[in-house]
Symmetry: C3
Subunit: 480 residues, 3 copies
């Protein structure tokens, strides 16, 4: 089943492996899952593999692919031409110290992950480098799952973060990972290894804030509509509107959340522009909260799209509700009893058609925006196209959404009935922030401000500031 790569197994005398055309020999210490998956991928890419186990006779060889040799740990190290993987739990790194001499001069790859976040002062790779000062310790492949390793070339390229203090060893591992079909990225020295080890522990780190903001907005608007439309009428007049809770009230809160969240996408850009105008320079850092906010615009935009999409589906389901049928039947009954032949109200027809049109178009533009935030689509855009989509289409979506809300509200805002218990209609609350953003954008579009801002963004016009180097910086700086 397997031709022996190592003719004898005397542990201390490394004997030459036969130079068959199968490619270089890679060593792996450890015979667990990761070892198995890695050896499958290595063999598939034409490498030969020697796996070193503490007790090779007890490892079920059938789990490894053909072309893999199972030996003792020492033999595996000796058999490997240059690169040895340490596929062992970091808690057991100290059991390998006996191999220190044999590992000298070889590339030792640490593939371990951090057990939890922010707990250790030194990374596993740094500990390993301390134990084996004569080996070139490289941190790599930890972000790759055993699954992706086995999946092979057809699963699309995946990035491998690689760092090491030894340039030669790093170059060897960069090349190896490239031949396995991964896209290696050099992230510097071993000091970066802690961050690399913690990378797989992150759970959507950039989404926490935006999701919390969206959720709080939903709670506020849902609570507001509950109090105004359900609770107070019940207490006051004993009206039973509780059937509105699962669907109608949710569908009142969702568009408000979508609208405010979309405004939150464009607010920090305005704030940054105002700051730059006020300071007269772009060479001062923004406050941290603004920096973070600017980096979360994509997430806020996608959450706004999610809420808008749910609002669309909920609205389309409104006519499927039993309640809609009952309401219509009762209206028909009343119309017949009242003898009204034609109940058509021209103004209401215009109102409903206009707000539906604006809503559909706004949602369509938002959908285009969402599509361009897919990595593979966004990567195909150049920065000019990206700016056109994100800024141009974004403001178009915001404007259409505001118009959707205004047409929906129509003349409600001016009727006393719209303020029961002195609470204004919810759509008025939801309009405040978007209108502020739109007005702010229009003010910034005034020629005097645009010219000054463009100058500042191109680097010159530092006014009373100390930046004389206005000839630096090509024109394609990041947009704000």
């Amino acid at each position: 089943m397997k031709t022996p790569l190592l003719a004898s197994s005397a542990p201390d005398a490394p004997e030459p492996l036969p130079r068959c055309p199968g490619g270089p020999v890679i060593g792996i210490i450890g015979s667990g899952d990761f070892s198995r998956s890695l050896s499958i991928r290595l063999v598939a890419s034409g490498f030969r593999v020697v796996v070193g186990s503490r007790d090779p006779s007890r490892v079920p060889i059938g789990l490894f692919p053909d072309g893999v040799e199972l030996r003792s740990q020492g033999e595996a190290v000796d058999g490997a031409e240059r690169v040895v993987f340490a596929a062992v739990y970091p808690e057991h790194y100290h059991t390998l110290v006996g191999l220190r001499e044999r590992l000298a001069g070889k590339v030792l790859v640490d593939v371990s992950n951090a057990a939890r976040m922010n707990r250790v002062e030194r990374s596993n790779a740094e500990k390993l480098a301390e134990l084996f000062p004569q080996s070139g310790v490289v941190k790599a492949f930890n972000v790759v799952s055993a699954w992706a390793l086995q999946g092979g070339a057809h699963d699309g390229s995946r990035q491998v973060l690689i760092c090491s203090d030894c340039s030669d060893s790093k170059a060897a591992v960069l090349q190896l990972s490239r031949r396995l079909g991964f896209s290696p990225v050099d992230v510097g020295g071993l000091c970066a290894s802690r961050e690399v080890e913690e990378a797989p522990l992150h759970l959507f780190p950039t989404w926490g804030g935006p999701v919390l903001v969206t959720f709080l907005l939903f709670l506020f608007f849902y609570g507001y509509t509950f109090i105004r439309r359900v609770l107070l009428p019940f207490i006051d007049k004993g009206e039973n509107n509780f059937t509105q809770l699962p669907l109608v009230a949710v569908n009142r809160a969702l568009p408000a959340v979508a609208l405010v969240t979309l405004a939150l996408v464009y607010l920090p850009g305005l704030a940054a522009a105002v700051l730059q105008l006020g300071r007269g320079t772009k060479y001062q850092r923004f406050p941290v909260w603004l920096d973070v906010w600017l980096c979360r615009r994509k997430q806020l935009g996608l959450l706004s799209f999610l809420c808008a999409g749910l609002h669309a589906v909920y609205s389309l389901c409104l006519t499927l509700r039993r309640a809609a049928g009952y309401t219509l039947l009762n209206a028909a009954y009343r119309q017949v009893k009242a003898g009204v032949e034609n109940s058509w109200v021209e103004q209401q027809v215009w109102r409903s058609d206009l707000y539906l049109s604006c809503g559909i178009l706004g949602f369509g533009v938002l959908a285009l925006l969402a599509v361009t935030s897919l990595p593979s689509v966004g990567n195909a855009l150049n920065w000019r196209e990206f700016t056109f989509v994100q800024s141009g289409l974004g403001y178009a979506a915001l404007t259409l959404s505001v118009m959707h809300t205004l047409f929906f509200g129509w003349d409600f805002a001016f009727l006393p009935e719209a303020y029961p218990y002195f609470l204004p209609p919810m759509y008025l609350l939801a309009l405040v922030l978007p209108c502020v953003v739109l007005v702010g954008r229009l003010v910034l579009a005034l020629p005097c401000l645009t010219v000054r801002l463009t100058k500042i963004r191109r680097g010159w016009e530092s006014a009373r500031h100390r930046r004389p180097e206005n000839l630096d910086a090509p024109g394609h700086c990041g947009d704000v």
Copy 2:
């Protein structure tokens, strides 16, 4: 139009090409489509190209880009510095044997595809290597279409599978393909070439089984509803329900298919966990059917999403049907005649709002899952995020779908009218498997079982099994 790269054309004396800064010279034997597309890409990347034809005077040179030299086959081989492409039908490889001497020591790239699957005992590349034992034969570029070659760098990177028994030749082609903007993947020795040659013949190989299962489920549920709601009432009472066939019956079968298919996504994971618990080890291979099933979960999930999406659209169209209008008008007529002022049924309103809400939310979660199965989105997730999405959100979607169905059914299941001809309502049939999965998942979440399973999955706790090496394998093994 074209400066001659080869000063003279004496076939047997390879003369030096002028070392202009244009990059190395690549040879291509054959002047067909692939040759043309390849030379366009090579020239665009700064290489010079010599195309060898059996009768160069009869090839329309206008089809090749500037910078390509058209010569005889022998001259093309001589003119090439190192790499020569054999862009000739494999049936005609034997006509090249006259070039054997001249090709000695050069890299000969086979770009051909298999004519059909599983028909040959040896690949084209292996035959070519046999004909030219002194050349470094490399299999490459066959998975790339002529279209992608011409499309150039802007079309996004595409993987190129490369294999060869000669390491140096392989390295040269790896580098070449990288400079052309492709992502080469080393898939080992020439023994892998047959698989590489057959790769472009596959037609969605992983989709066959899941599509068949989904189609059979649809046939079953459609047939069941046809018999129960259309055929038997027609035979029994002469009721004409045939208008239900194109839309209503389809929309009854689709949700059932979506629900069962979604359950089928999570069933094999449970089966694997039960097997591992029973065996007390994870170091035994699963039966083949379970392995295949585990690898088809993504496809099943996407098909479930497709059915759920169609069900959503069909349901939203229900109110657009003429039949809906007629039903409502007739109901209004009856209500007026009966003098019922208010037909509102509180319980039915709650029921419809609750099942619509659960359906919308379940579909929304399923849509998020579908988005993360896009390669470019999934690749950006680390394994912890991937597990959260696939397992956490997946069970959330299943739970919401089951609730959607239960609210839809409400108290129907307990009414005798729901069992005409002793056939139970279809949604009860569709609920069996999902409920089994949910209950199974809850049982496995019992602390005693979870602890034991986690231990087994981490590699230790092999009980009566023969695995002593519990210090191997870092913690990021593939989930099941």
Copy 3:
């Protein structure tokens, strides 16, 4: 905060940098935005950076990451081991001529963009190469935004177009960009630099034509329905149908646009086949208009999908309109007054259910097609799968759409009332082109034509043409 890389700063005597393990030293001339972003990425990938400014004391060092040394321009050039970036506006390239001697033998990277399209006779990189004839000038990184540079490895790979007349320098920059996590593509000599510089200025260059065609089609169909349904009835009988303008008329024009655009996707393929059949060879270039049209099929298809999607949403919103409610109430009133107990019309029920079914299925198939046009999904398909999806599913979508329209029209076309003012119903106009395409496809599927076309496409059967080399070209040529 920062260990000095350069011990002294005598401008003319380049002193050796300490060989700490941090990796090679890269020089950047200029201290603007791009310089800052580039140095952040370089430091993150383990390089050391020396930034050269005209007046280093006035540059706010806090904006640069740790590990960056700020010096004079000359010192930065001297400190750099091999690669120096010119991150200065091209208008100021002439201010760098004093560094010519110091830059001799180094790699000088031009990262600038063109200010506008088609305005210059020579690219910035060519000008730079003229100013520094002893340096290896390389054009690179201009397509990368400062944002993407800072974003680092986690933002997914982005292509970097690289060209140079000096092979060694190009190789150095290719390797550098690969280590920074980009996917470099060699696009040849400096003569390609103008195109590379203009790349970031393009604004969806392939979308202009298709968007214009779609817009004109929309104008035509919207205008036609406005005249036929609103204007002429108003002039003729004083009917006020203006409420149809925002939603109903749009929703009549959209499906017509979607149908015609979808037909335009498949028309050029037929035209190409007819041309090839007529000419008896595929080795003649198509006319330019046909070539351009063939390359715009994807865009036309996506625009057709967009229109179809909007049509679907608009149609689903029809029942949400106030007008729908009023119409139904008035119909109920009339039914009660007329004493009609059952208004059910079997034929209309069949008609509406059939056209809704065909529409939903056609849109579903179109959605699958749209998903495969996402770069990351399309890249995962081999050419056989791609052909199956684009051609097979495409014609399925077209057929279903035509059936949707025919069922919608039903027997309308034969009623005199359907031709008010002698204008035919719009759906008849929209059906002309799709029917031509479907019939043309059926004719081409006749065995005699298919056999001949397949022969021509495989390269042989050139009839009276001059192509004898029928053994070239492997079988995976681009489809038409």
